[in-house]
Symmetry: C2
Subunit: 201 residues, 2 copies
């Protein structure tokens, strides 16, 4: 990571850039030079966009989605069904489902999955709020759209057990999701097909 | 690039991130979520570092290096030899040579190479200033450390012809640099070896 003759300002920029997913020390140096060569077109707008997003965007207190408003645009949209809640692991998964356009209800972002290996327990996830939402009279279906990984399916079974008491129908995505696959990596068609043929747990 | 439920602030951030080298639309979305999850540790410091670097860093009027001061730290270092100037294509190449620690003189950043295909002519590069520096009495050697590509070597020959009149010794990196290779991708040992066995043009 030594860049020697580069001053501390560039060193700091490269160090921070190299902490982004997808960029290592070498690509961070390339990115820094690329940015310095496009200050007004890219570097300053990016600095503004980062500061702006860091200040304005927060997690929705209702569903855990990221948005500038709380409740978020999805939770406050008048034209979305109130009766169905789709449970996802991350905001990235919510975006993937929205791109597929397969679901017109509300979402609930868990913020991860249960994992004995990583020490993630039920109380570490956004589960209490999900139970509370599921118990509301207007909610009739909870769609568990968790990754088809071991931890994702373990979490789905755990949630199905917990949600049974709330008297809602609990469904999961169809088996169209490949085993071991992650939602954010699937094409929109597969996601839409999996949504259409969802089955009772 | 649609992220659907994400607001315009996130969309703008993702669009700008995806313009960085090494990041595409999908990795830009992942990076945006990664940043939003580490606001105080990474996102705000990165915004500050970008704005700070964009404001403070400029090209050195002497050699073309990027630094907060003009002349840059390399040009104003009292312990570096005044008699040798190493000519490189980009600031990234200068950093690569500094990491190898093989050269203790001054640098000159051309800002590219001559290219008939891309329409890069001598007047598009930082050549006039190089000739001016080469004609100074204290300068005795110009090391051409250009990439071992066709355009790099064409540029080296052009510069050797132009610099002949200045009465300086013009050398180039040893044949240790692999044909078609680029400086920024070589290991430090190869760069150091190539520097040691540099030969007269």
């Amino acid at each position: 990571m030594r860049t020697a003759s580069a001053g501390p300002e560039i060193e700091r920029l490269i160090t921070l850039l190299s902490k982004m997913p997808g960029l290592g020390p070498r690509s961070a140096r390339r990115a820094a030079l690329h940015l310095l060569g496009r200050r007004d077109a890219l570097m300053r707008p990016l600095a503004d966009a980062l500061a702006d997003a860091a200040d304005k965007i927060s997690a929705c207190s209702e569903c855990g989605n990221m948005d500038v408003s709380d409740p978020c645009a999805v939770c406050s949209a008048p034209n979305r069904a109130e009766n169905a809640i789709c449970v996802v692991e991350t905001v990235g998964d919510l975006w993937a489902l929205e791109r597929a356009g397969a679901f017109k209800g509300r979402y609930h972002v868990l913020g991860g999955v249960l994992s004995a290996l990583d020490g993630v327990r039920p109380e570490d996830l956004n589960i209490a709020k999900l139970i509370e939402r599921a118990e509301r009279s207007e909610v009739t279906e909870i769609v568990l759209a968790l990754n088809a990984t071991v931890d994702g399916q373990t979490t789905a079974h755990y949630l199905a057990d917990r949600l049974e008491a709330a008297g809602v129908k609990v469904t999961s995505l169809a088996r169209g999701v490949p085993v071991g696959g992650e939602l954010d990596y699937l094409d929109d068609g597969t996601l839409a097909a999996a949504f259409k043929s969802r089955s009772s747990v």
